[in-house]
């Protein structure tokens, strides 16, 4: 992949200018720093930066735990130490208690990394699901690469605390699948917040949402695309424009001569996909369509990070393994439309067994609360096919594999020294229907305690009866 000019570097060069006001270059604005009021004409890679800060925390030692680390075999009777927001120690046996540490005895209980959902619309399609809050699909044009999911996120969505209470600490919020190219995703931490910026995962790469098949052709049936071939023509036209746009900008940024090209928000996002800075997430159900999308990506010189839904991934698991493309899947959703009728419960297990990167995702605010349960169903279905996948392997479907799909596997997704201390303490094996998260830490800070319950969003005050904590 070409990585000529990472947009991150552009952002750094802009920082000296001290102004992040993005203004289009119509009528000849000037390079950064040279304008009368410091007008910035160049793309800013991070115009809505994260203001997330980890909550205060004390060192926390969890001992006597069964650990599914997503980085190796199961550890029984082990420990994990969370310190300064990071995992300071993890392994078999016990360690001396650091001064001032909170100690949690996890005898009989399980510890996993915080679960990660690659596919959520929380905040964009919040609860209550009224028209006034329906902000997940900019279904006004088949290509809306210009929209950013974060600009729709309502931090008061009651789904957020519930997702956290299910042990999920990081989610990718994607635009919906009405459009061929739906826009940019955003990666959020499940924390109480006044603004989306307070939830944004610092430094997380952006994603681009694309969609295959029935949805775009149904939504745009009257104006087109109305067929699958129309869909593909639509993607190709967009990428042709993006290639030309990228060339114009890369040349100008290199030479700094003449007027800068006019900015175009949608093409700016697509150009950054071509530069390798934005990860592609493609909603595709059918095997044959995924194969077309792989060729499409090759035609224009980008790669697909993950297919989403991918109910027929098992038919091309070998191709996905060869191309190193993840498949974000449900364990058993299917049949609700024609392109989903070949859904099988063995999908996740068959993809895993073929050596491809299997992910269990939700696309649903209830599923996002129980990714572990969906992984358990998928593991059971694999076993029924004679494919035995141990729990310490299957846990990867909801931890390190989604972390990879989000470009965050160097920071989250496994219990390893130096990684962010996003940790779940489960009442039992997370592969049991009866297991519940007892406690959840984000960056080493206790974010959820079942005895106290999750936080209540502003909306819930007065509208949603309080249930309080529960130790049931």
């Amino acid at each position: 992949m070409m990585r000529m000019l990472p947009l991150v570097l552009i952002a750094i060069s802009l920082a000296a200018g001290g102004c992040a006001t993005a203004t289009t270059a119509q009528g000849g604005a000037e390079p950064p720093g040279s304008g009368p009021r410091g007008l910035v004409v160049e793309p800013n890679a991070d115009p809505y930066p994260s203001t997330y800060t980890p909550r205060p925390s004390r060192p926390t030692l969890i001992r006597n735990a069964t650990l599914l680390t997503a980085a190796g075999p199961i550890i029984r009777g082990g420990h994990i130490l969370l310190e300064d927001g990071l995992i300071a120690s993890v392994g078999e046996g016990d360690i001396p208690t650091p001064a001032g540490a909170v100690v949690v005895d996890a005898a009989g209980r399980f510890v996993t990394p915080g679960l990660i959902d690659t596919h959520s619309h929380a905040g964009d399609y919040p609860a209550p699901g009224v028209a006034a809050l329906s902000d997940g699909n900019e279904a006004t044009s088949p290509v809306t690469a210009n929209v950013w999911a974060e600009h729709s996120v309502w931090p008061q969505d009651p789904q957020f605390p519930r997702i956290l209470a299910g042990g999920t600490t990081t989610v990718q919020v994607l635009p919906g699948s009405a459009n061929l190219i739906g826009g940019r995703s955003v990666v959020l931490k499940m924390v109480p917040a006044r603004t989306v910026q307070e939830m944004k995962f610092p430094g997380a790469p952006y994603g681009l949402k694309m969609a295959c098949g029935e949805n775009p052709k149904r939504v745009y049936a009257s104006r087109g695309p109305s067929t699958r071939m129309g869909n593909v023509a639509g993607y190709r036209a967009a990428w042709i424009e993006a290639q030309a746009y990228r060339q114009r900008w890369d040349r100008w940024l290199r030479d700094r001569s003449g007027e800068p090209p006019t900015r175009n928000l949608g093409l700016e996002t697509l150009a950054d996909v071509l530069r390798g800075n934005i990860l592609v997430h493609a909603h595709c159900y059918r095997a044959d369509e995924m194969a077309i999308m792989i060729d499409l990506a090759r035609e224009f010189g980008y790669t697909i990070r993950s297919f989403h839904h991918a109910v027929e991934a098992y038919k091309i698991a070998d191709l996905l393994a060869r191309e190193d493309i993840a498949a974000s899947m449900w364990s058993d959703w299917g049949g609700f439309k024609m392109e989903a009728i070949d859904s099988v419960r063995g999908n996740v297990g068959l993809v895993h067994a073929a050596g491809a990167r299997a992910i269990v995702h939700s696309d649903d605010p209830i599923g996002s609360q129980r990714l572990n349960q969906d992984a358990a169903k998928a593991r059971a279905a694999a076993a029924a096919l004679g494919i035995d996948i141990p729990e310490h392997e299957a846990i990867r479907w909801v931890t390190i594999n989604p972390a990879w799909a989000l470009g965050l596997d160097d920071r989250i997704g496994s219990l390893e020294v130096g990684k962010h201390a996003d940790v779940v303490l489960w009442s039992a094996s997370p592969f049991s229907v009866y297991a519940k998260p007892d406690q959840v830490w984000i960056d080493g800070a206790l974010a959820y305690d079942r005895a106290a319950g999750a936080w209540r969003t502003d909306f819930e005050l007065g509208y949603v009866p309080a249930t309080g904590g529960s130790d049931r």
Binding site: P365, R370, V433, Y463
Partner: protein
């Protein structure tokens, strides 16, 4: 469970012409089948260790630890296994909705008249050849309720055993209820919740008076009525208390209104969805109104459901309400994943319901409420042999339904999904 309630449900309703009980057992084996050595959870009483379930001619002949196995009986070794009645999911559209979205017609709705379709019998178009049925029964679901949708009065509900077709051989009870909804005023042809409730009341009044008005209607001497004669005929068993009226409702305010309505007309009310029912648990228990809920939903996803909580089933049961569990939370629980009712039950247990109550809520409780407890829902001598042998706790993910009997016939043949997996088990696929 209130004793009086059960007795009322089990008594005379079963023999009316409309509430036809179809319990014949075609093509059942004449030889005996003995499920031997398993832990039996009969749902009608305590579990029995190392027990035998003896099946003959499609019926359960004996259940117990000391049952003599006839020498010619076909033996099913259930050592280390759990044996339960086949599970019942009373809210499904299998067989009437094959693919819900953009793939041809679906058959769950009627046009009706004035949003009233009480005479609508969706089971008449039940597709016994749907490949989804095998995937469902292979997961231990042996009876489903065919549920109509839309309108104020959606239509009639029927129970179907997931045995081998044709449809007539699968019907368990048709109709088993009349289904209505008080969730969405526009679908009921009304502008507000209040108008919806008013319309429902007026309809029940007209249905109550119908036997005295038939003649006048036929002679063109009737004032205008809301519904058609066929609808009023279909509502007679509801007015007579022989069939329940299932009303889909969420908000506590409408639940109160429906309780008043049920009292005024003396009808047997069953609530469905019922997100805020926990707020009226005592009133529902006192009125003997059963409630159809899931065990998972906890999102206040509309202004009708702000009180949604995942321990609704547990709170209702604790107050003494008869709870029927269905798969109503996520992942298409009325079609493709009608089968997932067992995980809904497991989650209900995780959310505070007792395991025994959860098993009853997917077996004997729906059988009693819909008038088929003398045929299915428990493992007792004389009942039809809908029996499942599980590798473990049926509510756990890593448990499989190993052997499934419907009316004594073993039905666990591969589903379409099994065939697809077999084809693609190794790549490239084998096209045979």
């Amino acid at each position: 469970m209130k004793r009086t309630h059960v007795i009322r449900l089990l008594a005379p309703a079963l023999s009316t012409a409309l509430a036809l009980v179809l319990a014949t057992s075609p093509a059942a084996q004449s030889t005996a089948i003995a499920i031997v050595g398993g832990t039996v959870y009969p749902a009608s009483g305590e579990r029995i260790e190392r027990a035998t379930v003896l099946i003959r001619d499609g019926r359960i002949e004996a259940v117990g630890a000391n049952v003599a196995v006839p020498p010619d009986a076909e033996r099913v070794d259930a050592a280390g296994r759990w044996v339960t009645p086949g599970l019942i999911n009373v809210v499904s559209q299998l067989g009437i909705v094959e693919i819900p979205l953009s793939a041809g017609p679906t058959d769950e709705r009627a046009n009706g008249q004035n949003a009233i379709a009480a005479a609508f019998r969706p089971w008449e178009s039940f597709n016994a050849a749907s490949p989804l049925l095998a995937a469902t029964r292979n997961d231990g679901i042996t009876t489903i309720g065919i549920f109509p949708a839309g309108n104020l009065i959606s239509g009639q509900h029927a129970l179907v055993d997931l045995g081998v077709g044709p449809t007539e051989a699968m019907l368990r009870r048709a109709p088993s209820a009349v289904a209505a909804q008080a969730q969405h005023a526009p679908s009921a042809g009304t502008a507000s919740r209040g108008e919806l409730l008013l319309k429902l009341r007026r309809l029940l009044e007209e249905a109550r008076d119908w036997p005295d008005r038939r003649e006048a209607f036929d002679e063109n001497r009737s004032r205008p009525l809301l519904a058609t004669p066929a609808d009023y005929e279909a509502l007679q068993p509801v007015i007579a208390g022989e069939l329940p009226l299932i009303v889909w409702v969420d908000r506590a305010a409408e639940i109160d209104a429906l309780l008043r309505l049920a009292r005024d007309f003396g009808i047997r009310l069953v609530l469905g969805s019922a997100s805020e029912a926990w707020q009226r648990a005592d009133a529902l228990a006192a009125a003997g109104v059963p409630v159809i809920v899931g065990g998972i939903r906890n999102i206040p996803d509309s202004f009708d459901r702000l009180g949604t909580r995942d321990d609704n089933a547990a709170l209702l049961r604790r107050a003494g309400v008869t709870v029927i569990l269905v798969s109503d939370s996520y992942g298409d629980g009325t079609h493709f994943n009608t089968r997932n009712i067992r995980f809904e039950a497991g989650n209900a247990v995780a959310n505070g319901m007792s395991w025994d109550d959860a098993l009853r809520a997917v077996t004997v409780a729906p059988a009693e409420v819909f008038g088929v407890a003398d045929r299915v829902g428990t493992l007792r001598p004389g009942l039809d042999a809908n029996v499942v042998v599980w590798t473990g706790d049926p509510f756990e993910f890593d448990t499989r339904a190993e052997v499934v009997f419907v009316r004594g016939v073993r039905v666990d043949a591969p589903s379409r999904q099994d065939e697809l997996m077999e084809r693609y088990r190794t790549l490239p696929p084998s096209y045979r």
